[in-house]
């Protein structure tokens, strides 16, 4: 297992970059949010791999917290998207641009 750590960390880095790219290029608020979730889950993958590498439980413990926090974020985030959709009938972030200089 330990000889594959590099590969797993590389995979998590690729997933993280995909998440960042998704956030920067997508227009729909829900898709952006899914990309953020991808970023958080790539971190989980890295944490589990490091936890195995160091033979230490801390990383796996943090993974549980990350999942709980991601769930809380989903609850608030989707509520915000619903409230904006009710008022504007869109979740496209390029059309939601009242506030700018």
């Amino acid at each position: 297992m330990n000889q594959h750590i590099d590969a797993i960390v590389a995979l998590s880095a690729i997933l993280f970059s995909m998440g960042v790219l998704g956030v920067l290029t997508r227009k729909n608020a829900i898709t952006i949010f899914m990309s953020v979730e991808l970023m958080l889950n790539s971190v989980n993958l890295a944490l589990v791999a490091f936890s195995r590498l160091h033979n230490d439980i801390t990383g796996q413990m943090l993974v549980i917290f990350v999942m709980a926090i991601a769930a809380a974020e989903v609850a608030v985030g989707l509520a915000i998207v619903i409230s904006i959709f009710r008022n504007r009938q869109t979740a496209d972030v390029t059309e939601i641009n009242l506030l700018r200089w």
Binding site: V23, V36, A46, G59, L99
Partner: protein, 477 residues
């Protein structure tokens, strides 16, 4: 492993201030779900913060670690925690009438605020990157909701969504940084990471982790180039929420950044300072210059918060105790000042119309007390004596100069001069006679005025006799 009940009890008692705020949040949530008179809610919230503040400052807990090194009590946690609680108390005094005016249900707001403060208190007492992350998220998630509390208002919706998407994005960076630091050092405990750094030279992995974590922090404190959300959020959110997001959030996040820097680098790190210096310079320039072009007062305050993030970052350059103490003093005064400014703007708002430099005209005559308080706050933000903002800037610049960052100090002074350009326009608007004599009557109410006057007194005292607060910070350190 058997559980040592005595230890558990001792640890639980040592974080009592956090638990009191959490409990008052739960009580507030329950009260708002049942049909209790909403008049009671601010009293419950305020007394919760007051009890927590008194426990934190007067029940002396020795500086010790609790919960197997996850939490550090005493000293730093007391400094950070009591400034946050003092701000929260003032905010509770001022906010009730503002919430009613905006048509926001009090129970929702106060419960969310109490949970956010729980997160802030966790952040400033952290001794582990896991605690830092959980604290930041416990603070941020209620913040997203607080920004969107005016559900029918599209601007409030938009600001909540921007805040949420950017905040979650930033959390991803912060977390990936933490994961890489964990991968490089094998621990998330700040003290043990520092031990690791003392015994061996960290590789590229560690520094990439630090960089990603700093990126997350820069997003949260709205430093350039990660600042673009701040003016939008502070402008669009209900003013009563902005008054807390822009101040409490900044206090807690900057204190945590100082905490992380202090614990990780007992020996100053040139790499850390180099990154912070670039971001500080950009924030000071772009924040101040962009603010010159704004006419909406809340937006000006948003850009001013970007600029002040730059000044605050200057205090992190030296990585000495003096620097961290200067930062604590600056962020305390900045928080109270910006809070006073936002709160006054909230009371001068009429029918949800934005307060612009144009609509401010003449309000200094019709609302004398509010006008004077806004003037005091704005002068303090400029950094002109005899207000607290001057002493804060002086301490920060002095520290940066002593650590050999003369260029940045000159830049700081020059950009402060530039900032007078837009701050002065607020004061001029306040005391210009308007063409039309339509006067907006919107009295703040005695209780809110007391809170605002208290904030103004803090600003004045911190400027006229700084040892009150600098002595308090150094005695606890």
């Amino acid at each position: 492993m058997p559980i040592d009940l005595n230890l558990l009890l001792r640890d639980t008692l040592s974080v009592a201030p956090v638990l009191i705020v959490l409990l008052s949040g739960i009580v507030l949530m329950m009260m708002s779900a049942s049909k209790v008179q909403s008049k009671l809610l601010p009293w419950v919230a305020g007394s919760g913060y007051l009890i927590s503040f008194l426990t934190l400052t007067f029940v002396t807990v020795p500086s010790a670690s609790a919960f197997s090194g996850m939490v550090n009590t005493g000293s730093f946690a007391v400094v950070g925690g009591s400034m946050i609680l003092a701000l929260a108390f003032l905010h509770t005094m001022v906010s009730a009438n503002l919430l009613k005016k905006d048509g926001i249900y009090l129970g929702e707001f106060y419960a969310l605020q109490a949970f956010a403060i729980t997160g802030m208190l966790m952040m400033v007492s952290a001794n582990d990157l896991i605690m830092v992350f959980i604290g930041i998220e416990t603070m941020s998630i209620p913040f997203y909701a607080m920004a969107g509390l005016k559900r029918k208002d599209v601007r409030s919706n938009e600001s909540a969504m921007k805040y949420f998407l950017i905040g979650a994005f930033a959390a991803g960076f912060l977390l990936y940084g933490i994961a890489l630091i964990y991968g490089a050092t094998g621990t998330t405990n700040l003290t043990r990471i520092a031990d690791y750094l003392a015994s061996q030279t960290p590789g590229a992995f560690f520094w990439v982790g630090i960089g990603l974590m700093l990126t997350g922090f820069f997003f949260k404190v709205s430093a350039v180039p990660f600042h673009f959300w701040a003016p939008d959020v502070y402008q669009g959110a209900p003013t009563v929420s902005s008054a807390f997001l822009a101040t409490g959030g900044k206090m807690a996040t900057f204190m945590t950044l100082a905490l992380v820097s202090m614990k990780l680098f007992p020996v100053p790190s040139a790499k850390w300072a180099a990154v912070v210096a670039v971001v500080a310079a950009l924030s000071m320039i772009i924040g101040n210059v962009t603010a010159l072009a704004q006419t909406n007062v809340k937006r000006i305050l948003g850009y001013s918060s970007v600029a002040h993030a730059g000044y605050l970052l200057l205090a992190l350059l030296s990585q000495t105790t003096d620097g961290y103490q200067a930062l604590a003093y600056y962020v305390f005064v900045y928080g109270i000042t910006t809070f006073a400014a936002f709160a006054v703007v909230g009371y001068l708002e009429k029918d949800g119309n934005p307060v612009t430099l144009e609509s401010l005209k003449g309000l200094g005559f019709s609302h004398r007390t509010e006008g004077v308080i806004l003037t005091i706050a704005v002068i303090s933000l400029m950094g002109i004596p005899p207000m607290g903002g001057f002493v804060g800037k002086y301490l920060v610049f002095l520290n940066a100069y002593e650590s050999g960052h003369l260029g940045l100090v000159i830049l700081g002074v020059v950009t402060s001069m530039v900032s007078i350009g837009y701050y002065l326009r607020i004061i001029l608007s306040l005391y210009t006679r308007p063409e039309s004599t339509e006067v907006i009557a919107n009295p703040a109410g005695a209780f809110a005025l007391t809170g605002l006057i208290l904030a103004a007194v803090i600003i004045l005292v911190s400027g006229l006799y700084p040892p009150v607060f600098t002595g308090w910070i150094t005695s606890l350190w």
